[in-house]
């Protein structure tokens, strides 16, 4: 057997999967932009992604902000630079931790749920039923989810940013004995529009990635319960990896601009 055969097969498989995802992405975007629009479904998805993810994202960013405050203090106190805690927490949360943690949490909560729901619809022929009822599954199932993810994640991250910065404030003021007024003024002094904006751009991108991967893997699910399980796992893993890759790319773009 040719030793290069498995490598070639894997490479061709990778190209095929990339092509399928690219086509799915194109179809999804084109259906997001063209009527009919299902506003009732869009509203439901917005509530599910935006409102019901708020406790998870809020808890995550709160404790991330608190831990970041403690770690910054532990590190910076070695150089007598404790005064920079507010700045590090504000920049760390808004630029990186807020969007990345929210993206990963929503990938676990929403991406998995979407893949499981659409996967079950696929294997129980509900998606075929939509076709026979003259309803395009891309418009009815995919477009509302992707629009909701793209629009709601920035809002979630914005709220998460505030909660995360508040986490740093709690630790700094109540545990480390910082002056509350000074901490807040330092936070506002260091933050620029682009810090928050870059985080929100990341959030919108991550929202798109999470919903796209959830929809793609669920929509193409095959083979009963095992297939749905595999789709769910693949949706979360692929979304998480893509979030980390695109986080670097967007960071690079903003820093070099």
């Amino acid at each position: 057997m040719n030793p290069f055969q498995p490598v070639g097969k894997a490479f061709l498989g990778f190209l095929e999967a990339t092509g399928k995802i690219a086509l799915f992405t194109f179809l999804s975007i084109s259906h997001c932009a063209r009527p009919p629009f299902y506003f009732r479904l869009l509203g439901r998805q917005m509530i599910d992604i935006g409102y019901y993810s708020l406790p998870v994202v809020g808890m995550t960013t709160l404790f991330a902000g608190m831990a970041l405050g403690l770690q910054t203090y532990a590190g910076f106190s070695r150089f007598s630079a404790e005064g920079a805690i507010a700045k590090v927490v504000a920049l760390g949360i808004t630029r990186e931790l807020g969007p990345v943690l929210a993206g990963l949490m929503v990938a676990g909560r929403i991406g998995a749920a979407m893949a499981a729901e659409l996967g079950t619809m696929r294997v129980t022929e509900q998606i075929d039923a939509l076709d026979t009822l003259s309803t395009n599954p891309f418009k009815y199932l995919i477009a509302p989810r992707i629009i909701a993810g793209f629009t709601m994640l920035p809002l979630l991250v914005f709220v998460g940013d505030i909660i995360g910065v508040f986490g740093g404030y709690i630790v700094s003021v109540y545990k480390l004995g910082f002056n509350p007024g000074v901490y807040i003024s330092e936070t506002f002094k260091v933050l620029e529009f682009v810090d928050v904006f870059s985080g929100l751009v990341k959030a919108a991108t991550f929202g798109f990635i999470v919903t796209l991967m959830g929809c793609y893997h669920g929509y193409n699910s095959r083979g009963g319960a095992q297939g749905v399980g595999a789709a769910t796992t693949n949706a979360v893993v692929s979304a998480s990896i893509l979030i980390l890759i695109f986080n670097y790319i967007i960071t690079e773009l903003f820093l070099s601009a």
């Binding site: 075929d128 026979t132 009822l133």
Partner: protein, 257 residues
């Protein structure tokens, strides 16, 4: 000469190396009820999916009212699909919607009908299949298998389609409930004056709901005739199948132990 309602000419379909449809020719005239019988894996479901546009044949033509539909997409496909009603084997009811909305789905989404008017029609159709208005408010998960089939039938006839497809309508039901579903199918198809195409391996059901029967074997139609003539078909494959004999020209692909 009347234009066939459904016409398949030399339709081929394969998945990898496996040939599923090997040159299917079939004509169904308006108002006719034809049942395709055949063993598991003979290509019945693939034939149905090719007509419904859920699969694309590798070659051959499929015509609805004289219009070729292979490769049709977008608005044209939706226009053709509006002529169709479909009862899926497992019901394929949308579990996120109450029963009445399942039945009204094609009216609301496909025909853009007002929700209140669509609900009135849905309740009428539920009554036609022997279900009360209270059932309309339940979730599909709360229904028994027989009730789910009835709801599926109500959904299939809700838009008063010209062509109704039945995929294994009695599978998974006890004999009495199966006969009730058969009676409902005959009644609904007659009342609508629709053309019906069913696939089944339940001979009692096939005899009851059809005017004509076609037998599919190894991807080919090997016999077509009037239902009354099936006991004298002179075709050994058909004889073996309708009598359910293990011995005969049809050999199941069983692995010898």
């Amino acid at each position: 000469m009347t234009t066939p309602k459904i016409k398949l000419t030399d339709v081929h379909k394969r998945f990898g190396d496996k040939v599923v449809l090997d040159g299917i020719d079939l004509e169904i005239t308006p108002g006719e009820s034809l049942v395709i019988i055949g063993g598991s894996g003979s290509g019945k479901s693939v034939t149905l999916k090719c007509i419904l546009g859920l699969l694309t044949p590798d070659s051959g033509t499929i015509e609805i009212d004289g219009e070729s539909i292979v490769g049709m997409s977008g608005a044209d496909r939706e226009r053709v699909n509006r002529k169709f009603g479909m009862l899926f084997q497992g019901g394929a009811l949308f579990d996120s919607l109450p029963v009445w909305e399942n039945v009204a789905f094609g009216l609301i989404q496909g025909h853009r009908m007002n929700r209140n008017k669509a609900k009135d029609i849905a309740l009428e159709k539920l009554a036609a299949v022997g279900l009360s208005a209270e059932v309309g408010e339940l979730s599909p998960a709360e229904l028994s298998g027989g009730m789910q089939k009835r709801v599926g039938l109500a959904r299939a006839i809700a838009t008063e389609p010209e062509i109704i497809f039945f995929d294994e309508p009695t599978t998974g039901l006890d004999p009495i409930m199966g006969d009730i579903i058969n009676d409902l199918i005959v009644k609904c198809v007659k009342e609508l004056g629709a053309t019906a195409l069913s696939i089944t391996h339940d001979m009692a059901s096939a005899r009851k709901i059809s005017d004509h029967i076609a037998m599919l074997y190894k991807g080919k139609i090997i016999w077509v005739g009037r239902t009354a003539d099936i006991d004298h078909s002179g075709e050994p494959h058909v004889d073996q199948f309708i009598h359910g004999r293990a011995e005969g020209p049809i050999q199941m692909e069983l692995r010898r132990l």
